[in-house]
């Protein structure tokens, strides 16, 4: 269990709702859910969610902290925004799901080998390296995320798709060597470092 997780349990002993309101992006909206279930019915991957959004909102109010944060439900969000556009109360559900997913990751509570969590993390690291996404490296790191052997197998399976993209100049081998990026990389990285520091400090403070 991470130190931050322990501090948060200590700090918000009696109210998981308050913890979510204070620390999760758009978390202050959770209590506005009226349990109609339109979000669950509107979700394109609804059948893949262990707990649909309205259930998660109720679980937060019921203090089911671990069940919520260690669920892989939020990681099933495709960011289609159906739930947001249909919610009668205007809850920014997509963002709350993203916020919960990020908070679970911050506390080290994500289920092991959750593929979308791993892909999301790779994507974030990839874009931060040079300020822009390197699609070739992102694809390769995804294929090889479970080691070399499986990586070769996945690459073979994806070979035709890769060749199609190469032939139509929608993938470039040159991206393996350097590739696109921002010119003011040091400025970019200073900005991102500061943004992380400020956000970490805000959440750290909340746990004390």
């Amino acid at each position: 269990m991470t130190e931050l997780n322990t501090a948060m349990i200590e700090q918000y002993r009696n109210s998981f709702l308050q913890e979510v309101e204070a620390n999760v992006e758009e978390g202050e909206w959770v209590k506005m859910c009226m349990q109609c279930g339109v979000c669950a019915g509107s979700c394109p991957l609804g059948n893949a969610w262990e707990h649909p959004p309205q259930e998660i909102f109720m679980m937060i109010r019921a203090g089911k902290r671990e069940a919520v944060l260690s669920s892989d439900s939020m990681w099933m969000c495709t960011s289609c925004y159906n739930c947001i556009s249909r919610c009668p109360r205007g809850l920014p559900i997509t963002h709350i799901m993203h916020g919960l997913a990020h908070y679970a990751q911050r506390l080290g509570l994500v289920p092991k080998n959750q593929p979308t969590q791993r892909f999301a993390q790779m994507f974030w690291q990839n874009l931060n390296k040079k300020g822009r996404v390197n699609e070739l490296k992102l694809g390769l790191s995804l294929y090889f995320m479970n080691g070399f052997g499986e990586g070769v197998k996945t690459s073979l399976k994806m070979k035709d798709i890769g060749l199609g993209m190469l032939k139509t100049k929608r993938m470039a081998v040159t991206e393996a060597f350097g590739g696109h990026g921002v010119k003011d990389l040091s400025g970019f990285q200073k900005i991102m470092k500061k943004a992380h520091e400020l956000e970490d400090a805000r959440i750290q403070k909340s746990g004390n």
Partner: protein, 299 residues
């Protein structure tokens, strides 16, 4: 026609050798024809799309967009920001709105930007290219530019998610937007009436991490186009275009289907209709060739 200028945010996948470089090429051609100048935001960075939240949280993720808006306000002062990528548009506009609502976040992002001498004023409208076409240029002007009507083509207008929700195009409904059909009609082609999968999710970034779940959804998008005897699908979104086009062989293998449905951008239809060549319209960058459109481009 008066020349129009915008501050342009192309996004990572529009770069040379990237997955939607075909959209970029066809948009450049389209803008030449419509006398629109796109001034790139100098040194723009990635917007984190809709999958950056895992590692990026709130402030670092939104600060990516803050840097782009700040650069645009500094270098392309007074110009609206225009994006062609649905995720770029959504992320940037979302960030701008959040900074308007939350003074604390606004102060923090400016503290971060100050590390590189930048400042966000957040006074710039963030728009999608489709808004420029509909609101600033208009169907009539577009129709007036058509030299080669796309007669005989039946086209399924696939709007997808992020061009449509949560912001969408003013005056259009989230559930049944009509602008793509109207555009198809303006270009002389035949839009599929009642294309029921027009706003169905393709899986977005989860096409990478949950391929089977996503491909099941993609299958329905293509199936419905076949059911309406469409010759091709048209979309404004680069993630939709790629997801619906490139996995058809894998879907065929898994489901014993025989899909070979071309998926093109609205800008490619416009280029051909405006009289431009297949190459200018980036039709050579289709993984599944849009044969009927190519044939028209040769006329």
């Amino acid at each position: 026609m008066a020349k129009k200028e915008y501050s342009f945010y192309p996004g990572c996948s529009s770069q040379q050798g990237a997955s939607s470089s075909n959209m970029q090429k066809s948009v450049e051609t389209m803008c030449e024809e419509l006398d629109v100048t796109l001034n790139q935001i100098p040194d723009w960075n990635c917007c984190a799309a809709s999958i950056g939240y895992g590692g990026g949280g709130e402030l670092p993720r939104l600060t990516l967009s803050a840097r782009n808006i700040a650069l645009s306000e500094q270098h392309n002062t007074g110009q609206d920001i225009v994006a062609t990528c649905a995720a770029c548009w959504l992320a940037t506009r979302e960030a701008a709105e959040r900074f308007h609502e939350d003074d604390g976040l606004m102060a923090e992002t400016n503290q971060a930007l100050a590390e590189a001498g930048l400042k966000l004023k957040n006074e710039t409208p963030i728009r999608h290219m489709v808004e420029v076409l509909i609101e600033d240029i208009g169907y009539d002007t577009i129709g007036g530019k058509v030299q080669r009507p796309l007669e005989g083509l039946k086209i399924a207008g696939y709007v997808g998610c992020q061009t449509n929700r949560p912001f969408g195009i003013a005056g259009e409904s989230f559930e049944n937007p009509m602008y793509l059909d109207k555009l198809v009609e303006t270009l002389g082609a035949d839009p599929v009436k009642n294309y029921d999968k027009k706003v169905q999710c393709c899986g977005g970034a989860l096409a990478f991490s949950e391929p089977e779940k996503s491909q099941d959804m993609i299958k329905t998008i293509i199936e419905s186009a076949y059911d309406s005897s469409a010759d091709m699908i048209v979309t404004p979104c680069p993630v939709c275009q790629m997801n619906v086009e490139i996995y058809q062989d894998q879907i065929n293998q898994r489901h014993n289907t025989k899909f070979k449905m071309p998926v093109v951008y609205y800008s490619q239809l416009m280029d051909v209709a405006f009289g431009r060549s297949a190459k200018d319209s980036a039709l050579d960058q289709q993984v599944i060739k849009a044969g009927k459109l190519e044939a028209l481009a040769k006329k």
